[in-house]
């Protein structure tokens, strides 16, 4: 039931932001948490993210990672 398009988008974002496999795995969890915390995207009613929103989330995610 995993959504191919969503998962492929995460892979593409991981490549663009030079994420390791471990970080990409965490990024997927992070996005799901953002949706659950009412910080989801505008793509649909489920809070999925547009491509540009995914890029913004990646920047935010990696920034927090570096700060920690």
């Amino acid at each position: 039931m995993g959504k191919k398009l969503d998962i492929k988008q995460i892979n593409s974002i991981a490549k663009e932001f030079n994420m390791s496999w471990q970080v990409r795995k965490l990024f997927g969890k992070f996005l799901e948490q953002e949706k659950a915390s009412s910080y989801g995207g505008t793509l649909n009613a489920k809070g999925d993210f547009t491509w540009e929103e995914l890029r913004q989330k990646a920047e935010e995610f990696l920034h927090d990672f570096e700060e920690s």
């Binding site: 039931m1 959504k3 992070f30």
Partner: protein, 176 residues
């Protein structure tokens, strides 16, 4: 960390796929499924073994297992004593997804008894105690380029299988 991969297009190589995956995953047998969760894209994730906090400030309240299995976008079926409890597909409705997410939680705290890869179909069966089976049946014609499943291991390596007969075992620190 060493990277190992194989593109088993030669039918004579296919039996090696099952044997090698079995060898790599052998230490996982007997581990308890500590957590069932879903990642972005409704990807099923099963965490086994020792649980530790996720190493990101916004995820520090979440735990991850020393073994982390991800079904990627592959449809899965949960059986109990050969009876299908739930079977998923990419076309599932929101209601069906919610149902599947609830039913799969029956695997929490179950011990993994076996992990079997079918060398011909690349199908995967995870056998759990109390006669539960989680079955992944990849579509070999799928040209999405996505792996059928992946397994993050305590060795800081990630094992990926698919698409096709391709498998790979690399460092989790390797870049995409």
């Amino acid at each position: 960390m060493a990277t190992v991969s194989l593109l088993a297009t030669n039918p004579q190589i296919k039996p090696d796929l099952a044997r090698i995956i079995s060898m790599i995953t052998q230490p996982m047998i007997g581990e308890i499924c500590r957590q069932i969760s879903f990642s972005y894209g409704d990807e099923l994730e099963l965490d086994f073994g020792e649980m530790t906090p996720c190493d990101h400030p916004k995820l520090a309240h979440l735990l991850k297992g020393s073994w982390r299995f991800g079904a990627r976008a592959t449809p899965w079926t949960l059986k109990h004593i050969d009876r299908v409890l739930v079977s998923t597909s990419e076309d599932d409705t929101g209601e069906e997804i919610l149902f599947a997410k609830e039913v799969i939680k029956q695997l929490e705290n179950k011990k993994l008894n076996e992990l079997i890869v079918d060398a011909e179909t690349v199908g995967l069966t995870l056998g759990f105690e109390d006669n539960y089976q989680l079955i992944l049946e990849p579509n070999l014609d799928d040209d999405s380029g996505l792996a059928y499943w992946e397994l993050f291991m305590p060795t800081e390596q990630v094992l990926t299988v698919g698409s096709g007969y391709f498998w790979d075992c690399k460092s989790i620190h390797e870049r995409h």
